[in-house]
């Protein structure tokens, strides 16, 4: 990745911001990551913190992990009608993370055209200001977005 130019595909420095979800964490260095849990008994990965496993019913042994930052586009829809303050169209995506777990989020950096978004597209997880998607409601928050993995690596 080119580091000398500021790309829209880079994560922002999240210092001074709050995570937009309960599983968004911000480090002292301004980097952000998503928290997950992994069941020690069956290996299932969940988004966010959990105390028991919905799959194998284990009641302890769920360890807190950092969710991975790369994945594949499992599913999406292009949303054309939403609430008045939300910019449309946007791509509501479901991503299978390479290191386990499935998360939802907006896919950006791609033409929101169903004919041009392939299933299985490799993506990266980046962190940007929430206001980029939802305007002033998102000010002061940082959220995760997906970008095509090929973007920003030229």
């Amino acid at each position: 990745m080119k580091m000398d130019t500021y790309s829209v595909m880079d994560s922002i420095d999240a210092r001074g911001r709050q995570g937009a979800t309960l599983y968004t964490h911000i480090g002292d260095d301004g980097s952000a990551w998503l928290e997950g849990s992994r069941c020690a008994a069956c290996g299932t990965v969940y988004t966010g913190a959990r105390t028991s496993c919905g799959r194998c019913f284990a009641r302890d042994g769920l360890e807190s992990i950092r969710l991975g930052a790369t994945g594949k586009l499992y599913n999406y829809t292009v949303v054309y009608r939403s609430y008045p303050h939300i910019k449309v169209p946007f791509v509501a995506a479901i991503v299978d993370l390479d290191e386990g777990g499935t998360i939802k989020g907006n896919l950006v950096g791609i033409d929101p055209d169903p004919a041009r978004i392939p299933f299985g597209l490799p993506v990266r997880v980046i962190f940007r200001g929430a206001e980029e998607a939802i305007g002033e409601q998102g000010e002061g928050f940082v959220a995760h977005f997906f970008v095509p993995a090929s973007e920003g690596e030229a």
Binding site: A20, L22, Y74, A130, A133, I134, F141, A143
Partner: protein
């Protein structure tokens, strides 16, 4: 289990907008229609099971309008499976021998505009439009897109579901809308969330429906077996664990589980069913449920709609009422309205939309979150 359970009275109001009426008033109307359908009075009822999401203590408010008899009232909420859950609670009470004559009512006044799935926790920021989308059109577009991904199903095939159900509704005097919508009109309507256009989303309406359930012993005692409809199976499930549950609501697993239980209980298979009212909250949903309910093999849903097998006159007519897409979808009322529709066909009283010779029918609803309720009904 004990006695068989029969529906002896059932009816619904014509779905529409009732700005001058409250939820209890609308619910009371359906309750009285169902009582009149079998010639019983509110004083004959031993319990009321009421399905409604928007109000509170709805069942008691209905009794305040039609008769405060002091009977037990159970108010149920279970998302879009609310009405069917109330019906099932009534069925269960008779099966258990607690009551032998109960009233079940489903009623809803719908807010205008788009429904958003309530997030599970206390999110710092409203997630809509930021962390993907939780609007119902988006959720059910994901359902359709997953089917496209797996089987190559097309936008046009999903759109044909809407054409079919809108056509069916032209034959149903109780449907909110009764207009033909040709394929081009459906496909060219405003795209809400790909591949669901506005005409592929359920009609947002107010409505109510009711059913009176009795034990076989009581039905015979009252001389009500002539038009009685037997409840051959009742199944209610929540979503079993599935891989992407947290990111993507799963309407398939809960439906498959409920279908298996219902077929087992009835001792029947999909080939024995003559008509189905299933949860077409969006056009994409109906197609996946063809497979979930076993009407065809996995991946063949598109072929089923192309071949017209689920249209009135086809091999297994689906949503001949017009479905949620055109008859309308008042959440708490929908489950019982489906039961009214199927019972009406089994009684041979469905007029222009009658499924010829219908003896056994199925109703299916899915409430996101997730709850699935399936009933199999048979003419006594």
């Amino acid at each position: 289990m004990a006695d068989n359970v029969y529906i002896v009275g059932t009816d619904m109001i014509r779905f529409g907008r009732f700005d001058d009426l409250g939820v209890p008033e609308i619910g009371a109307e359906a309750a009285l229609l169902a009582l009149d359908d079998c010639g019983l009075a509110i004083s004959d009822m031993q319990a009321l099971y009421c399905g409604n999401l928007g109000e509170g203590m709805t069942g008691q408010k209905i009794l305040a309008l039609i008769g405060q008899t002091g009977i037990p009232v159970v108010n149920c909420t279970n998302a879009c499976a609310t009405g069917a859950t109330a019906f099932r609670e009534g069925w269960a009470a008779i099966k258990a021998g607690i009551h032998d004559l109960v009233l079940c009512v489903g009623v809803e006044k719908m807010p205008r505009g788009m429904l958003v799935r309530r997030p599970a926790g206390f999110e710092p920021v409203p997630p809509e439009g930021l962390i993907g989308s939780g609007t119902m059109p988006a959720v059910f577009s994901h359902v359709g897109m997953e089917h496209m991904r797996q089987y190559g199903t097309t936008f046009e095939q999903f759109a044909k579901i809407s054409v079919k159900n809108h056509h069916h509704s032209t034959l149903n005097p109780k449907a909110m809308y009764r207009k033909e919508t040709p394929l081009e009109m459906v496909m060219e309507a405003e795209m809400i969330a790909y591949p669901n256009t506005k005409l592929m989303c359920s009609a947002n309406v107010d409505g109510s429906a009711a059913a009176i359930l009795v034990s076989e012993r009581k039905a015979r005692e009252l001389g009500l077996m002539d038009r009685a409809v037997k409840v051959r199976a009742s199944a209610l499930t929540s979503d079993p664990y599935s891989e992407r549950n947290l990111a993507m609501p799963d309407v398939n697993s809960a439906t498959r589980l409920a279908a298996r239980q219902a077929y087992d209980m009835a001792g029947l298979g999909p080939d024995d069913i003559d008509l189905i009212e299933l949860h077409d909250c969006f056009a994409t949903a109906e197609l996946v449920h063809y497979e979930n309910l076993g009407l065809c093999r996995d991946g063949e849903g598109g072929r089923l709609i192309d071949a017209g097998e689920t249209a009135l006159g086809g091999r297994i007519p689906v949503n001949v009422s017009g479905g949620l897409l055109s008859k309308g979808h008042p959440l708490g009322a929908t489950g019982i309205a489906n039961i009214y529709e199927v019972a009406t066909h089994l009684r041979g009283e469905a007029g222009a939309r009658q499924v010829a010779g219908a003896r056994i029918g199925m109703t299916h609803v899915v409430g996101l979150g997730t709850a699935c309720a399936i009933h199999i009904l048979e003419k006594a």
